[in-house]
């Protein structure tokens, strides 16, 4: 049920006309109904996700290699475990299209291959004789862009060079925003450039002022581009602001990879400090971190949130890495060694339990059960779409092209009531302050004060528990009783001393007198 809940933006101020109150109630009811319907409609979904579970405690999922896995799965899945040996023009990078139908493999020295990987059918092959640094599909499988030595080029599925983007000089990394139809290139001089692929115009050119980087990732849920820099900083970019929205210092040493969980709420980073860190993007605070045996050079996250890291020629995959506590080191879900080849790209295939690995001598396809979303939405991306459906979708995509201004930290804000700008600013500042508060650590005291018993005692000093409260109560009671008995005694004494009929405020006189008397008598 929680899966379908949208964050509630509107806070009612309590002052509303009867009519608008009724409307609000109505819309709330609709929302509830829609939620129930969405849950009820789950039975209509045709597929269930992949599973990999040990049957006893001795079995470990991470000890299952692809060779062993091949013996356990059906024929169709067996065919998804394969290697392409391309040992001349490497190292290779590979990505899957959003519909999962096509696979684009590029070698650094200019080899390009576009295939329908399910049918193992080559669509086009090119030898560009130029360095290829990065690659991305555009809005359909029909077009792709390559970051070549000097410029970014766009090709179609026939292998025809359609455009040369001369503004993108010496591109290092590419990505594509599918709903905004924006091609984003990070350039060698540290610039970030957004090109509208439907109009061919440059939407914005941003100077990051943080030097060259090839670590570029987009958060699919809000379209924000994240750049990982050499000084361990991740900066957040949108085409409409000239400065970074956020800069987060995430690692000691260069950032090597950025990824996002499927909901886009957590950012996962790896750095040269051999660490994986998970950051909550709502509060910008560290959620979890653990160390790796060596630096992770590549990273990708699957549709179901599986995290794959490449360390030299090893691929490690984690499943439930957001454990209970911050400290626990999660066990990998799967491990695989790609025969002594350094890995240069990782990409999970959407809607499939497949991980594509590009390495020095070609491409390997691994099966990772439970990685992909089993039920695709045919109106969103469709692995088996017909030509007609594809054409229709393309038209719709163009009609519904979003303006660049819709890329914001919170895309749910559209269609809500505008907040008072001052209070919004205040909220943002609060968020910033909270994010920047250093973590409270226990101070190291001097010698002698650090003994365990003393420390515990000190810790207990101000703790108020029920035992302590009871003790306090009892003490207070005793004190009160004591006071009262004393008072009574005094009163008894004074009644002896003061004769009847004398007002009480004069009693002190009599006491004195009495004292005098005693004094006299003693003499």
């Amino acid at each position: 049920m929680d899966k379908y809940k949208r964050p509630n933006q509107q806070k009612s101020t309590g002052k509303a006309s009867l009519r608008s109150k009724r409307l609000l109630q109505q819309s709330r009811n609709f929302e509830k109904e829609a939620l129930q319907k969405a849950v009820a409609a789950e039975v209509l979904l045709p597929e269930n996700g992949g599973i990999l579970e040990p049957e006893n405690e001795l079995e470990k999922t991470y000890s299952l290699s692809q060779a062993k896995l091949k013996g356990l799965v059906d024929d169709q899945t067996k065919r998804k475990i394969f290697d392409l040996n391309l040992d001349v023009l490497g190292p290779y990078k590979a990505i899957y299209s959003r519909s999962s139908r096509s696979l684009l493999v590029t070698g650094r020295k200019g080899h390009v291959g576009l295939t329908f990987w399910r049918e193992a059918r080559l669509q086009t092959e090119l030898y560009l004789q130029e360095t290829i640094r990065d690659l991305t599909f555009l809005h359909t499988d029909q077009y792709f862009a390559l970051a070549q030595r000097k410029y970014t080029f766009i090709y179609d599925s026939q292998g025809i060079e359609l455009h040369c983007l001369r503004e993108h000089r010496y591109p290092t990394a590419l990505t594509f925003l599918p709903y905004h139809l924006l091609l984003v290139s990070a350039l060698e001089n540290g610039n970030l450039i957004y090109t509208d692929t439907s109009l061919g115009t440059i939407v914005s050119k941003l100077d990051t002022k943080m030097g060259k980087t090839k670590v570029l990732a987009q958060n699919m849920q809000n379209g924000i581009i994240h750049l990982g820099h050499k000084n361990g900083v991740v900066s957040f970019w949108t085409p409409v602001t000239s400065n970074a929205l956020v800069k987060m210092s995430v690692h000691r040493g260069p950032v090597t990879g950025i990824g996002f969980d499927p909901k886009g709420q957590n950012m996962i980073t790896t750095g040269s400090d051999k660490k994986v860190k998970i950051w909550d993007l709502r509060t910008f605070r560290l959620k979890k971190q653990w160390s790796l045996p060596c630096v992770a050079s590549e990273m990708t996250v699957s549709q179901h949130g599986l995290l794959a890291l490449a360390m030299n020629s090893h691929v490690w995959i984690w499943k439930d890495y957001l454990g209970e506590t911050e400290e626990t080191v999660p066990k990998p879900y799967m491990k695989e060694l790609i025969g002594g080849n350094e890995i240069h790209s990782l990409d999970f295939c959407p809607f499939e339990d497949v991980l594509g690995v590009g390495h020095v001598t070609g491409f390997s396809s691994l099966v990772v059960p439970g990685a992909g979303e089993p039920n695709f939405d045919t109106f969103e991306s469709h692995p088996y779409e017909t030509k007609r459906q594809r054409k229709e979708k393309e038209v719709r995509l163009l009609l519904e092209k979003l303006p660049p201004a819709t890329i914001t930290l919170n895309p749910q804000v559209i269609g809500t009531v505008e907040q008072d700008p001052q209070s919004r600013l205040k909220e943002l500042k609060e968020l910033e302050r909270n994010a920047n508060v250093p973590k409270q650590r226990e101070k190291k005291r001097k010698r002698g004060r650090n003994k365990l018993a003393a420390k515990l005692r000190r810790k207990q000093h101000n703790v108020i528990d029920h035992r302590r409260l009871e003790l306090q109560e009892r003490l207070a009671k005793e004190k009160e009783e004591k006071r009262q008995s004393k008072g009574k005694a005094m009163l008894n004494q004074s009644t002896v001393a003061v004769p009847d009929g004398v007002p009480s405020f004069l009693s002190s006189l009599y006491e004195k007198k009495k004292k005098k008397k005693t004094y006299l008598s003693s003499n």
Partner: protein
């Protein structure tokens, strides 16, 4: 080890194999998981913008003109039993019966000497219609009696003075005519059996209530709206406005509401139970409103004005949702909704009956399921995002003749200044003293 990996059969998705039942129908499934639909708000908003734009592009409200009258049309009525029949009467006494489906004249005759002032269809299906004119007669017609040369009325009632309007009872064979007071007639008698009047006013327009069938509302020359009850044979209540009302209409679904088309270019909706204030003042016309008629759904009404435009208002909306005009259409004296609420019929001074669509952009053809679903979805989107300024601006934008545009601006300016003045007056008057709200300004008095 328990292992299962995703493995789909491609045959399930082939439109010419099992996926499309072999018929070439592509299979579709929807997964509402929000993770698969990024930017859902933004995309929905974009769709809403597209929808209102398409709405404007496809807005072709004018359907056809019915030609046959020589003079301006002053009376219009729709049949109470047949959706397609509409009757119109012009200034030269000509009365025409139109068939909307055939887009043509079914019957016509010269019914009166001088203006035809009012037309009303009788309620029962076999019965005909009544017309009244400046020749001080009321005629009862059926499209049956033809004596080779001319059509003859079933009966003719001439024992009345000047007749300005006629309206028939919703249940019984009774009708009301107005002029010097209101006369209630039985169809079978030649004299009115009740005469109702309040002072010596001339009543211009009269309408029977469709639910409380014995109630009758009239508007007259003394700027009053008078409620009559034909059972007690007495006027019940009177409301006096600042200016004269030209036409009135009862809301058929919320039967306690009625709307008066006023000479001051506004329309006023009143609640029968609480007539102290107008429930709503409908602005937007720039000249006297001549005619008003409710949609059978009760959600909207249409008004025709002396400023040569027709406007459609939501029954609870201050401003109109639609304005219709053409270059050739003159002063509009009569408007009617069609019985299925899909069309609007207007009669104007240029002697032409025009037929318009109620929803300017919806297609008239029978829709496929996909088309219907898309239209419904777009309607919902427009509703949902209609309050966003960009969407609202596109949705509300209408081109009107320059004169009307200017006058409208002027009227808005006047209203603004009035409001300002009122606000200032309120600010600087003693606490506790009250000045009338603009809404109530038009109401002068009330008599029980």
């Amino acid at each position: 080890m328990k292992v299962k990996a995703l493995s789909r059969s491609e045959r399930d998705w082939d439109p010419y194999l099992s996926g499309g039942a072999g018929l070439g129908i592509s299979r579709n499934i929807h997964n509402p998981d929000p993770v698969l639909h990024p930017f859902e708000r933004a995309r929905e908003y974009k769709r809403a913008v597209n929808a209102v734009k398409l709405d404007r592009i496809f807005a072709k409200p004018f359907l056809y003109a019915l030609e046959g009258h020589v003079e301006g049309i002053y009376a219009l009525a729709r049949s109470r039993s047949n959706v397609a029949l509409v009757c119109s009467g012009s200034a030269d006494g000509q009365v025409c019966l139109w068939h909307l489906g055939r887009r043509g004249e079914v019957w016509s005759t010269k019914a009166h000497q001088g203006f035809v002032r009012g037309i009303s269809f009788l309620s029962s299906s076999s019965d005909g219609w009544l017309t009244c004119g400046d020749d001080k007669t009321i005629k009862y017609w059926k499209a049956e009696r033809y004596d080779g040369d001319t059509w003859k009325p079933v009966s003719s009632y001439s024992n009345c003075g000047v007749v300005m309007c006629v309206d028939s009872h919703w249940k019984e064979p009774v009708f009301a005519s107005c002029g010097e007071g209101v006369d209630i007639w039985n169809l079978k008698r030649s004299n009115p059996y009740v005469h109702l009047s309040w002072d010596t006013e001339t009543v211009y327009h009269v309408r029977f209530h469709s639910v409380e069938t014995n109630l009758l509302l009239g508007c007259g020359s003394d700027r009053g709206l008078t409620l009559f009850d034909i059972r007690s044979e007495l006027p019940v209540r009177k409301l006096v406005l600042k200016m004269q009302s030209n036409s009135i209409a009862w809301n058929p679904i919320e039967p306690y509401l009625f709307t008066a088309a006023n000479e001051d270019s506004n329309l006023y909706t009143f609640d029968l139970r609480y007539m102290k204030h107008a429930l709503k003042v409908h602005f937007d016309h720039v000249s006297a409103v001549m005619s008003v008629d409710y949609s059978p759904t009760g959600k909207e009404f249409v008004s025709g004005s002396y400023d040569r435009t027709i406007r459609i208002f939501g029954s609870h909306d201050k401003l109109s949702r639609e304005v219709y005009h053409t270059k050739r259409m003159q002063r509009v004296f009569a408007v009617q909704y069609s019985g299925d609420s899909r069309f609007i019929i207007s009669g104007s001074d240029d002697g032409i009956v025009r037929v318009w669509k109620n929803e300017a952009s919806t297609p008239l053809k029978p829709l496929l399921r996909n088309e219907r679903e898309k239209l419904n979805y777009e309607k919902k989107l427009k509703e949902r995002y209609g309050f966003i300024p960009d969407v609202r601006k596109i949705a509300r934008q209408r081109h009107v003749p320059k004169l009307i545009y200017k006058l409208k601006k002027q009227k808005a300016e006047m209203k603004k200044s009035k409001e300002r003045k009122e606000r200032n007056r309120r600010l600087h008057s003693q606490p506790g003293s009250s000045s009338p709200r603009l809404k109530d300004e038009a109401i002068v008095g009330q008599v029980d």
